[in-house]
Point group: C2
Chain length 201, copies 2
Amino acid sequence: MAAVYAQAVQTLIDELGRLPGIGPKSAQRITFHLLKLPTEDAERLANAIITAKARVRFCEQCFNVSEDELCSICADPRRDQTVLCVVEEARDIIAVERTGEFRGRYHVLMGAISPIDGVGPEQLKIRELLRRLGSDTVQEIILCTNPNVEGEATAMYLARLIKPLGLTVSRIASGLPVGGDLEYADELTLGRALEGRRIVD
Amino acid sequence: MAAVYAQAVQTLIDELGRLPGIGPKSAQRITFHLLKLPTEDAERLANAIITAKARVRFCEQCFNVSEDELCSICADPRRDQTVLCVVEEARDIIAVERTGEFRGRYHVLMGAISPIDGVGPEQLKIRELLRRLGSDTVQEIILCTNPNVEGEATAMYLARLIKPLGLTVSRIASGLPVGGDLEYADELTLGRALEGRRIVD
């Protein structure tokens, strides 16, 4: 068995298998795909990795990904400086931006509180968030962490921390997804949807 | 929207999104994972791609992946030269090797006949297979292509081509997976299992 794959092939499978969401089967599949590709196509991927690592850093203010000191959102003077949307990961910014509903700025925590994974508040960019709240013109904080155990715990923690500062703290709504179906909703989501019901006027 | 991601980030997402089985969401997730990694870890992946492309080629005889002219199986004199197992992809060799049931050699077609995808017999390593059958000491061919439309068509095509040469041609059995459940079997598989039933003695 051990001798079947050439060493360089096994190394590539192993490296790909370390990526999130890529199991051993996918790693194998991708490896053979890369081996069949023209060399320049495969090298374009390798170079994209190297270039991204060399060029991209995190925004000094909000920890979004950026090629400059400040990300394009923090550097944009047209963005509302009074509202701050707190997210877990930089990729969550895209999700919020896509809604077109938010014109404020962001703060990326770079994770969520998760004792099981050994992530406590001190591993997150919470100190940096508090520093921004002290000096900034922020009036409202929208806690936009994921609606799961870790995200809720993080939101609770932050709410308790920030409320005493006299700022408005809000949490995104949980409920049925638009286009969803009551029949297929899990009881927790439906419970939240009921709890968060709004008066129709 | 366009300005949210730094260019190098978008390039990496695009390149990852070209890999098989990786959609835009996974590509995004992997990109942010790579950006958070220490640079040397991300570069290890980039280098594994470059090294594999530089070192790995296809075995001149069977088209398995190899770092030498002949792959480790073709170069192994202990492998039975009278039986040839024909597979679609090099990765299928691993699946067969894992069974420990086969001690012969392989031939990789590098695909399957699929008119929809524009793959005809001439795109596959069939000419090379026939050349091996002419000069080799092969007595039996096991058609080990996938049990789907393309794999079956390829097996049929090969059987019709090879049988006149006076060789034994066999096809792997279709049926219920071991540990499977009748209740959950699709009717095609169960039909095949019935068709391929064996007398118990």
